[in-house]
């Protein structure tokens, strides 16, 4: 067997491209963030223009910082470190370039659609369906390029950073595809396949795990590679990193329901979300300590090296955020914090502190390695760190104080808990205005730091030669499977996998089966556990060998990681799909919208109302006192997408229907301050002049019917007649109240929708859902 020596030149061009894109898009995303923060203080900054209005720009901000800033930074870090860890060039230059330009095209598409109201109406999943498809294609390209590179690797062992990258790729693919399943009604609009509580669960299963597997696991992989490199010493404990990885992957995926505590989500799911969130404390803090202790003996570098500064602070913010997350997932804490700025503080502690600082540390470390020139100014990088840190502390401190203040005021009661102390929602908004202003200053400081980095980067690379790293590798010919790795049969037919599959099968029969099957499942589960333990005791070495070989086998490792994350999702989602059926709903059931109300609802989604107004009255006394009877699961069962919301910049709207006359809504939408003095809500005056598009309603109703909403088989003419009839009634009522508006304007449809909110029917015990025709 001959040994061949060859020189591998890494593809660092694509790393440089992603790195520059991250800096540029990061600046754009954060600039929009500062603007929308200022808009909450100064409503005039909405400029009475739809595409510059808060609710249109907020999705642009979140999508830009998640998918453009962190996405590009992640791709740069993954591609750079993977090539060096596996000692191989990226598998395909074409796929690398396709990935880069395709991803930038997606970002540009998002920037061209979100401000104009093209949205799916679900947080962090707003992009319309053609862009969703493009995202899936680009993710597949990324996955193929990555796994192909692993297949060509010259280093058999898989370092723990690679494990985190694998978990990221398979989990994000699963989450993104499932949560974006939808039926299109046009090229720019679709209805989610899921509705009501089902949609809420799937959305937050996605939303929470987007944080976990897009903003956390890839950055942890980056931490495990770049932090030891910057510190010049190996990770503090490799054993701890193994525990960190597996426990994080197994536990994270279950915690999504903590976004829906005290809502009408079934109690067992809320308990599950809370329990697993608390369990996350252990692996998260294990990872944080592992990162910080890697700097042991090298803390003196903190004084001089900006890279170490950013990494140390970034990992500390990771620890802080992952302490705060489980804390917020405790039901009683959540009752205070949910829907308030405390959540905004938590999110920004993670994104600005963990993601932003880890990105900055990585970028400063990479600049002198990707271009043959030292960093332009270390002093400027240090200044960036301090300006950014002060910015984060101002931002997060202000939002903590704001969230707790508003939470306490909204929940305050007197007269033995029977009367609200602050019945006017605006009292709580005005109390936090100075804190919201401090948030603007904090955000602006952080952005200023980012611009310092962009300037430093520009000066560093001006006139510099891009450099691609190289390595000499010694490959045996012919290239066989790496010694010790598992064959296809080997990773299926082995004791741990066989006993796990059998055990899960019996457990499913026990929990989901009928009477006999359930008993058989229970016996089988116990029998399987006993046999597995006996086998483990007798053949301990074969179990250990399998695990060791797994660590050098990319395919089985990926499959097992996928199974680990898919289990949590299935156990939560499958029962929810069953209970979501109208026939299984007890107590109250939603009345399907009329065609005009449906059109109004689409406007509500388009304008991003859900970003400031929830439609979920929690099972909490202050919520019920303020907004009315608590929301039932069946009351939103036909909502595609659900609009429960996650933040209350304004009051809940679940039972606003009939609370005010039509003319109140018209005046309020035209100029909120004419009705509510001191309101910070933008004007939505264009709704009074825009003509309602009813041409798409027949298709939309047909899709709603496909999704299970009990609409009758209306003809187009019947739909048009229904719309016309309801429009005229509302327009007449407005005229009688002194407001003159054409009946075919968008505001009329929106009023129809708002006035319907909170109406329901009592469930008939026999079960079947009545239709509008009934």
């Amino acid at each position: 067997m001959s040994v061949q020596k060859s020189t591998v030149e890494f593809n660092d061009k694509v790393v440089r491209q992603f790195l520059l894109a991250s800096v540029i898009w990061g600046a754009v995303g954060m600039l929009v963030g500062v603007l929308i923060a200022a808009q909450l203080n100064f409503w005039q900054l909405n400029f009475n223009t739809s595409f510059l209005t808060w609710s249109h720009l907020r999705p642009l901000h979140t999508n830009a910082v998640i998918f453009a800033l962190v996405g590009n930074m992640m791709f740069a870090g993954v591609y750079y470190s993977t090539q060096r860890l596996v000692k191989a060039r990226l598998a395909s230059d074409f796929l690398s370039q396709f990935h880069f330009w395709g991803w930038q095209a997606i970002i540009v598409s998002a920037a061209c659609t979100l401000p104009f109201g093209f949205t799916r109406g679900q947080e962090y999943a707003e992009l319309i369906w053609p862009i969703n498809l493009a995202v899936v294609v680009m993710w597949v390209v990324f996955a193929v390029n990555f796994f192909w590179t692993l297949a060509k690797r010259n280093e058999p062992s898989l370092y723990v950073a690679i494990w985190f990258y694998i978990a990221t790729i398979v989990t994000v693919a699963m989450l993104y595809i499932v949560n974006h399943l939808a039926i299109p009604t046009s090229w720019t609009h679709s209805y989610s396949l899921f509705g009501g509580v089902q949609n809420a669960l799937v959305q937050w299963w996605y939303g929470h795990n987007a944080v976990a597997f897009f903003l956390t696991t890839p950055i942890l992989g980056i931490m495990y590679y770049f932090l030891p490199k910057a510190a010049g010493r190996p990770v503090y404990s490799y054993k701890l990193s193994v525990v960190h990885f597996w426990s994080l992957v197994f536990v994270y995926i279950w915690a999504g329901p903590h976004h829906l505590l005290n809502t009408s989500l079934p109690g067992w799911l809320q308990d599950l979300g809370m329990t697993f969130s608390l369990m996350l404390w252990a692996p998260s803090w294990g990872g944080m300590l592992n990162g910080l202790l890697t700097l042991r003996g090298g803390w003196d570098k903190l004084r001089t090296d900006p890279v170490i500064k950013f990494f140390a602070a970034g990992v500390t913010f990771y620890g802080m955020s992952t302490f705060e997350g489980p804390l917020l997932a405790i039901k009683s804490v959540n009752a205070l914090a949910h829907y308030t700025d405390w959540i905004i503080a938590h999110v920004h502690g993670g994104t600005l502190g963990w993601n932003g600082f880890m990105a900055a540390g990585m970028i400063y470390w990479l600049i002198p390695r990707l271009w043959s020139k030292p960093l332009h100014s270390t002093a400027l990088a240090n200044l960036h760190f301090w300006v950014g840190l002060v910015g984060i502390l101002l931002y997060v401190g202000a939002m903590w104080a704001s969230g707790i203040t508003q939470g306490l005021m909204l929940n305050a009661t007197s007269e033995h808990g029977t009367v609200l102390t602050y019945p006017n929602f605006l009292d709580t908004v005005n109390a936090i205005r100075p804190l919201m202003l401090m948030r603007v200053i904090g955000g602006a400081l952080y952005l200023a730091g980012w611009f310092l980095m962009a300037y430093n980067l520009w000066k560093s690379i001006s006139g510099a030669k891009p450099v691609n790293g190289t390595i000499e590798v010694f490959a045996e010919e012919p290239a066989h499977q790496a010694p010790g790795s598992l064959s296809i049969a080997g990773w299926v037919l082995n004791p741990p996998v066989v006993f796990s599959v059998l055990g899960i099968g019996f457990a499913c029969a026990w929990m989901f089966g009928g009477h006999f099957l359930s008993i058989a499942g229970l016996v089988g589960t116990m029998f399987c556990a006993v046999v597995a333990f006996s086998h483990f005791e007798a053949k301990r070495k074969s179990w250990g060998d399998w695990y060791d070989r797994l660590l050098v086998s990319a395919v089985p490792f990926t499959v097992l990681t996928f199974l680990a994350v898919v289990a949590g999702g299935l156990i939560q989602i499958i029962p929810t799909i069953v209970i979501h059926k109208a026939a299984n709903v007890e107590d109250r059931r939603q009345i399907p919208y009329t065609p005009l109300e449906l059109a109004g609802r689409d406007l509500y989604v388009r304008e991003g109302c859900y970003l400031c107004h929830s439609q979920m009255i929690r099972t909490l006394v202050p919520d019920v006192l303020r907004y009315g009877d608590y929301s039932r699961l069946g009351e939103s069962i036909y909502d595609h997408p659900f609009q429960w919301g996650s933040k209350r910049n304004g009051p809940d709207l679940a039972r606003v229907g009939g609370k005010y006359p039509n003319v109140w809504h018209l005046r309020h939408m035209e100029n909120p301050r004419s009705i509510s003095t001191g309101s910070n809500m933008p004007n939505f005056a264009w709704l009074l002049s825009n003509k309602l598009d009813v041409s798409t309603l027949p298709r939309k109703i047909a899709v709603q019917r496909q999704l299970g909403v009990p609409y009758p088989q209306w003809t187009d003419a019947e739909i048009a007649a229904s719309v016309d009839d309801q429009q005229k009634k509302i327009a007449k009522d407005l005229r009688d109240s002194g407001a003159y508006v054409d009946s075919d304007r968008e505001i009329v449809a929106l009023i129809a929708y708002l006035q319907q909110l909170g109406h329901y029917e009592k469930v008939v015990p026999t079960g079947t859902a009545p239709t509008l025709a009934d």
Binding site: R84, K229, W268, T275, R369, G469, G544, P575
Partner: protein, 75 residues
């Protein structure tokens, strides 16, 4: 079984079983990690250092930036 899943007490079993499964996995993995032998750990933890990542340092007193020479420069 699921038709009364909103109200039925039996559904608490999901939370208990899920906790048990996750806890057992956590213990198993921790045990496996603890059993890793020192040479194996050293091999893994040094993987980031097997490939050199040469850098350019800031200019010293002589005013010249110092770049390590290993990589081939490509424009």
């Amino acid at each position: 079984m699921f038709t009364r899943i909103i109200y039925g007490d039996s559904t608490a079993i999901f939370t208990v079983v899920a906790f048990g499964v996750a806890a057992s996995i956590f213990i198993t993995i921790s045990w496996r990690a603890l059993l890793m032998k020192r040479p194996q750990v050293e091999r893994y933890e040094n993987l980031p250092f097997l490939t050199a990542t040469p850098t350019c340092a800031e200019a010293g007193q002589d005013g010249q930036a110092k770049c390590e020479a290993t990589p081939q420069l490509r424009t």
